[in-house]
């Protein structure tokens, strides 16, 4: 073992190769300058790019909107996103529309994301929902490294991917694997491993013990030194107002910082979006004095 407590890392990825061409790449370096966050370096290639950055409020948090001009992920496509948010900088990263995965004969579509947060850096990830269609296979591997004083908010929704005949869960496989490591200065330690794997072709995923009769799944991951049991209880209280089956819990604490995990099942993207937004609105207001996120206004 090289270092203690670091996950399998590259073992979780498959290498880019002739049969797995890199269809798109995006690299962003976000830096704080005079109270505003800016992209001090930006690179894109292929079928991934970002819209011109903008500022949704006076907080200095920069918003980048990720665009896939191709409109969808296809078989064997590989997309790579690498983002670093430097000390004190704040980034909101979202998408222009839902991530759509079409038929992937032969091999799965894959997105690899590597996110690094500096001291007092903040990252809010708020992508649109993921839709995997009939015979689609998708892997999303996300590696996030934070410092004890970083702040991460990450919300996601996965839909059942209706097929043309109206049936749900006709896709082959969806994997969303997120590793969050906390780097206190010496060796990074694994804080949370969120591994969502839905294989409708191998399991009955609809019933008790899996989707519990619901169709959509939503997740919220928060890592921040202000996360504690009272916050977990408060967010759980907020979720009661929604038509969803929700659980909230805390990760172990590493170097004084704890993660919060919220998982929710529901029958609509909108309901889950409202539930997750109720939670992020509370965090944005309390921690940063920011108004609710309204991505539909432009």
């Amino acid at each position: 073992m090289s270092t203690t407590a670091v996950g399998p890392g590259p073992a979780a990825l498959s290498p880019p190769a002739a049969d797995r061409p890199e269809r798109g790449r995006l690299e962003l370096l976000i830096t704080e300058r005079d109270g505003r966050s800016i992209a001090s370096r930006q690179f894109h290639e292929g079928a991934l790019r970002v819209l011109r950055p903008h500022y949704l409020d006076e907080s200095g948090q920069v918003c980048f909107v990720l665009v896939n001009p191709g409109g969808a992920y296809l078989g064997a496509d590989l997309y790579v996103i690498e983002v670093e948010v430097e000390s004190g900088a704040r980034l909101l990263l979202t998408t222009q529309s839902a991530t759509k995965i079409y038929r992937t004969p032969g091999s799965f579509a894959e997105q690899r994301m590597r996110l690094v947060l500096g001291d007092e850096a903040q990252l809010e990830l708020a992508p649109d929902q993921l839709i995997a269609y009939r015979e689609a296979s998708y892997r999303q591997n996300t590696h996030i490294t934070v410092r004890p004083t970083s702040s991460l908010i990450m919300a996601e929704v996965v839909t059942p991917g209706w097929s043309p005949d109206g049936a749900a869960f006709r896709y082959e496989e969806v994997r969303l694997r997120t590793e969050i490591s906390l780097d206190p200065g010496e060796a990074p330690q694994l804080l949370a491993l969120d591994n969502l794997l839905i294989v409708p072709s191998a399991d009955d995923v609809t019933g008790m013990g899996f989707m519990e009769g619901y169709s959509h799944v939503g997740s919220l991951l928060v890592v921040d030194r202000r996360v504690d049991q009272a916050l977990a209880d408060e967010l759980h209280g907020l979720t009661r107002a929604h038509e969803a089956y929700t659980g909230v819990s805390l990760t172990a604490t590493v170097a004084g910082t704890t993660g919060l995990v919220l998982r929710s099942l529901s029958n609509s993207t909108e309901e889950l979006r409202r539930l997750l937004q109720a939670c992020t609105t509370l965090l944005r207001r309390r921690w940063y004095g920011q108004p609710p996120l309204d991505l539909r206004k432009y």
Binding site: A5, A12, G247, R263
Partner: protein, 225 residues
Amino acid sequence: MEATPGYQLALQQLTDSALPTGAFAHSLGFETYIERGLVRDEASFGVWLTAFARQQLTFSDGLGIRFLYEDHPVAELDSLLTAQLLPRQLREASVKMGGRLLEIGTDVFPSPALEEYRGLVTSGRASGHQPLAFAVVAHSLGVPLNEALAAYLFAAVTSLTQNAVRAIPLGQNAGQRLLRVAADGVAAAVERVGNLTLDDFGAVSPGLEISQMRHERQRARMFMS
């Protein structure tokens, strides 16, 4: 006639429901289903137990045991388990029962590997999870992987069934019928564990996880998880 393998009685002792690890205190989430009225009789508990064996016991406990047998460093697997057991009570249950297993194992089946794992735990470098503590002992006793897996998984479904018999409640014979069916689920899980990869480690269904998380806030509880 072949003699009984040397580890046979040791394995029976390790997986006997009388082994004092405190398994009687954990529902690992099924108490939430009882509270919601979804688990209420033999058939409905059977559905839950099948899902639990296919998900949690396969992707978390079972894979952890296999990776330890395949010489993945125990500290790394321990850290992966701590990180992937997202519901707090489930993580605490694994560490609580793992701690007891480390103590008992050190007392009755000592080995250098077990001493090493216990040392990592006492020095705060590992948490001490139940499947890993079991795997270290079973491996040191020379138990082949698939036998160790089957014994561990069957012991897990046995204590859960005994707990369900008390909690729902069910008749003793219903419990035995459930275990007979669960044995098929265990055999399938052992086979599936062999076909998974490191990417699969910790992939537990959202429904089970949410129910395990909600147990934290349940008012009347018989179980700690």
